[in-house]
């Protein structure tokens, strides 16, 4: 059995706002093994981004226990890659310099890796473009390449493919699965998309809002590569969907495929 990479226990997070306290996370508990692929799905405002930021070490004001590799978090570190919900590129840097950021492109090994990643996210020809010249989906792919360059042990992804078209999206899903399988990266992948959650995750964490909590965690016992059209896939998809129908209102993006 692989070691626990991430342990979250009795995690509570409250935001103090002028209009009163907002409970963003309520008694979150989650254990993730080294090299596991976890997808987190839940409606807007259920605290998915908040949870990821706490694990990343960007937000240290919380109650409860969060351990990465058995140690409490003390701020961000290179082992924990983060892809934000928005691209967040540096507007004054070109695409290749955004990916390299604080690493020097003059180093041959950085140069080589950056070029590989640009090809991987299919942005050849845009190396020297500024972020203002990119579409939302292209900018997000730059952000993905930036995170991948650091080869993190654990990758935190906050709806990384939300701005991509269907084709690029499925290409990026394949790319991510490739990286996961070859690097044994632990993945914590937040999404709005039911289909994506079931396609990628070994376990799907289902969250509900007000206050944000984990409703259930469903294992997806399907071998990779998965076939969306397959009977088993559709069955599991319905199982996850059923978890949502227990709460009222439109919960998640059902997607166009049924």
């Amino acid at each position: 059995m692989a070691a626990e990479m991430l342990v979250v226990h009795e995690l509570n997070k409250t935001f103090a706002t002028p209009s009163g306290d907002v409970i963003a996370l309520n008694r979150i508990g989650l254990q993730v093994k080294q090299g596991e692929f976890i997808t987190i799905i839940g409606p807007s405002g259920c605290g998915k981004s908040t949870l990821l930021k706490i694990v990343a070490g960007l937000d240290t004001k919380y109650e409860g226990t969060v351990l990465v590799n058995g140690k409490p978090i003390d701020g961000p570190s290179i082992e924990k890659g983060f892809i934000f919900q928005e691209p967040r590129l540096f507007p004054w840097l070109t695409v290749e310099k955004n990916i390299a950021a604080n690493l020097s492109l003059r180093k041959p090994e950085v140069r080589k890796r950056v070029d590989e990643l640009i090809a991987l996210v299919r942005l050849q020809g845009f190396e020297r473009s500024y972020p203002r010249e990119l579409s939302g989906g292209m900018a997000q792919r730059v952000a993905i390449a930036r995170a991948l360059l650091r080869s993190p042990d654990i990758l935190l992804l906050d709806e990384p493919f939300g701005a991509l078209d269907a084709f690029t999206r499925s290409h990026m899903q394949e790319v991510l699965l490739d990286i996961w399988q070859s690097n044994k990266t632990t993945m914590l992948f937040v999404t709005h998309d039911l289909d994506e959650a079931v396609f990628l995750g070994e376990r799907v964490v289902i969250m509900n809002p007000r206050p944000g909590h984990i409703r259930s965690i469903l294992p997806i016992d399907l071998p990779y590569p998965r076939k969306r059209a397959g009977h088993a896939f559709q069955e599991l998809r319905h199982k996850v969907l059923n978890e949502f129908e227990k709460v009222e209102g439109p919960a998640v993006d059902e997607g166009a495929h049924i």
Partner: protein, 284 residues
């Protein structure tokens, strides 16, 4: 075949139309330029004619022709160049001194909350002091020589750069800070790779405003008392009632001020190529 031929000719038409559009935009620009010149040129013509007909008092309002003659004479004698170089030198020194300290102070206060509480309130108080109010004091302290003038210019040039650098640093997007933290920027990289580029637009605005204020300070300083410089030229001519020289001096101030401003704007354009901001189109 027929289909593709049709498409090709449609394409060609579109290209032609585009060419036409750029040409017509060019001519609109020319027309705009001519239109904007109509009023001043007309005014100059009326002024010249009225002067030649003896309707204007030449000591108060010399004709444009006379002013041009004066300009040529002052240029030929080398007087204009001498005074202009003295003035430019003063403005430059004052700007470098005041602007340099302003930039440094803005960086310091911008990066340190403690420094902000320590010195910003006092500086803000000094900022509201007008040039004319402190000029006599500067003269008392430093006499009529160069140092009082340069310090007066420096005082003016200090504040725009200080305020805008401070503001620029404090308005760096906190979301980008999070990115830099995740990527493990060192403290030094935070400053050089995030804060400084992000605040560059504000700093350059500060430079432009500082140069403008340096020119204003220069006029005050040279009018207060000096024996050289464009301000002196104006003041001396006013004393001797040679109004055409006053006009030449004013025009020189305006032209040089505009030129330096355009220079910084050019620099801005080059350094801020990455910026994606509203260019003032689409709202009529």
């Amino acid at each position: 075949m027929i289909g593709s031929g049709g498409a090709e000719s449609a394409l060609r038409k579109a290209v032609k139309a585009k060419k036409k559009r750029t040409r017509s935009r060019f001519s609109i620009q020319t027309v705009n330029l001519l239109l904007s010149l109509l009023l001043p040129l007309g005014l100059l013509a009326v002024w010249q004619i009225a002067g030649m007909m003896g309707r204007l008092n030449p000591t108060l309002l010399p004709t444009p022709g006379l002013i041009v003659e004066e300009f040529v004479a002052l240029t030929m004698s080398g007087e204009l160049f001498y005074h202009l170089s003295v003035s430019s030198w003063r403005a430059l020194l004052g700007f470098l001194l005041g602007g340099g300290i302003g930039l440094a102070a803005g960086l310091w206060v911008g990066f340190s909350y403690r420094a902000e509480r320590l010195i910003d309130p006092s500086l803000q108080m000094l900022r509201t002091l007008p040039h004319l109010a402190v000029a006599p004091l500067f003269i008392l302290w430093f006499g009529f020589d160069e140092s009082s003038k340069i310090l007066l210019i420096a005082k003016g040039a200090f504040f725009p750069l200080y305020v805008n650098t401070f503001l620029g640093i404090r308005s760096v997007d906190s979301k980008l800070f999070d990115v830099a933290r995740v990527l493990q920027f060192s403290r030094w990289q935070m400053i050089t790779k995030l804060v400084l580029p992000a605040s560059l637009p504000n700093v350059l605005l500060g430079v432009r405003l500082s140069i403008g204020v340096a020119w204003l300070g220069l006029v005050v300083a040279e009018m207060m008392g000096s024996s050289s410089g464009i301000g002196f030229l104006i003041n001396d001519a006013r004393y001797l009632m040679i109004t055409s020289v006053v006009f030449v001096g004013i025009i020189i101030f305006a032209v040089v001020g505009k030129l330096t401003d355009s220079l910084v704007k050019l620099l801005e354009k080059r350094l801020l190529r990455w910026q994606d901001s509203y260019k003032g189109e689409g709202v009529s």
